[in-house]
Assembly symmetry: C2
Homo-oligomer: 246 residues x 2
DNA sequence: GTAATAGTGTCTATAAGACACTATTGA
DNA sequence: TCAATAGTGTCTTATAGACACTATTAC
């Protein structure tokens, strides 16, 4: 009997239900900008456990239809927001005997950035309400289900860190935007103001955005419109934004 | 009936085995320095699946004895190396229907740094051999089990990235070390040489190491010995090492 | 004109790389 | 003295922050 035949035999007799394995799910921190505020999508849970509590959206892997973890997350994102996401990345995985009352559980946490435009939030049987809330409000006033306050804090920290050395905030803006709008987005996430000249020099030197030739006309001097090069939604700068000196 | 009583009722009737959930494991890329080479610990699998193939060490969560994922990883590390690790961090989580022949599986990958001193590698019923192999050798010549070549590559990339802006390599050296030894360790990981003056300026300015007062005597001019401040095994520098200019 | 926002010129500050130099040991 | 490694002095380069300045629009 060859090794391969023996392995086939092993697999035929293998039953996952004989083993103690943890519950495994995914959770998402979905960020967007609305009314000049960084907001996060929360759902009010319609099912046990933690029924009636606010939580990050998430759910279980569908072993039949999901080929990979990314499929699971994309499916969940679409169920709640109905739109494609601009940016998605894994943040961390949390596992312990006590984080879920059902028993040992593991959750893989993702962070997503989406453009808030023409989005209709979708409730379903798992969530009786779906809302965008400002990140500051949540951190100050909301007790989320499970360990979701920790997951949210870690995801926000990841976002803030990456905004210092990448071009990620481009994913929160529409196809075309002005440099002032982009700077404002960076500032909203970082929580402090950036020097205008430094910001423009940095973005233009990186050659990750191109002028469209159009202008945004407002009540004042019109501003050049730019769009991001396809490859530049996550450009890594060589140096970080340092913030104001004292 | 209150919400809480209803939730208790829900939990009493909850049976995890009714649901399709993935196999969930942890895998580790354990780095050390030996003979001026960056090496990784590999095991030859003694059990199906992938029996007889080289793989990263790992295993399943023990739902009874492990309180958290970190407990699982610490336990596994100790099983193989018998020593405490200097640095441990999560790298990423991999999940798909096809990565393990037993079915849908998720693995949480960790990267560890350990000091190679007085370590006796330990084989057990799950691994017939346990060895340190140079990272370059593995990447060039070894077909690892499952998706472990990818996990290894991602972990090594994470290590290289962090070495550019943190003090992580301190974790690969003994209690006391010279600046030249530390620089050599940085260089082995990065794969290129660092300018000596820049390196020393950077490390000393950060105030993360202190002179012990002792000297390392060799065949040449003796070198000052330093030890790391307790809090400085993972110092984040403001700027990255940039590498040679052209 | 003024207010408001877009956009620039140019200085300083910080920390990295380059590279030649000096220092201290063993043999 | 020489080879080898430890350690320094100092110049250049790159890019960030500061801040005052000019430019263009609506009113």
């Amino acid at each position: 009997m060859s090794i391969t035949e023996t392995q086939s035999h092993f697999l035929e007799n293998y039953d996952i239900h004989e083993f103690d394995i943890p519950l495994t799910s995914v959770d998402m921190t979905i960020f967007t900008i609305e009314d000049d505020l960084l907001k996060v999508l929360l759902v009010k849970r319609a099912q046990f456990p933690a029924k009636g509590e606010w939580a990050l959206p998430g759910g279980f892997i569908n072993l039949k239809s999901d080929g990979t973890l990314n499929d699971t997350v994309s499916r969940k994102l679409k169920e709640k927001t109905g739109v494609e996401i601009s940016h998605l990345e894994q943040v961390a995985t949390y596992g312990s005997a006590v984080r879920d009352p059902r028993g040992w559980s593991v959750t893989i946490a993702y962070m997503a950035l989406i453009l808030n435009e023409n989005i209709t939030l979708i409730s379903d049987e798992s969530s009786e309400e779906v809302v965008w809330l400002p990140i500051g409000d949540i951190q100050d006033n909301y007790q989320l289900a499970f360990d979701h306050n920790v997951i949210l804090a870690d995801s926000y920290q990841r976002l803030k860190n990456k905004v210092q050395y990448t071009s990620l905030p481009i994913n929160l803006l529409p196809q075309t935007f002005t440099l002032s709008e982009l700077q404002k987005t960076f500032e909203l996430i970082l929580g402090y103001n950036i020097e205008k000249k430094s910001f423009r020099r940095r973005l233009l030197a990186a050659e990750i955005i191109v002028e469209t030739g159009e202008m945004r006309v407002g009540s004042n001097r019109p501003a050049k419109l730019y769009c991001a090069k396809a490859s530049s939604k996550e450009h890594f700068f060589q140096r970080s934004i340092e913030g104001p000196r004292n």
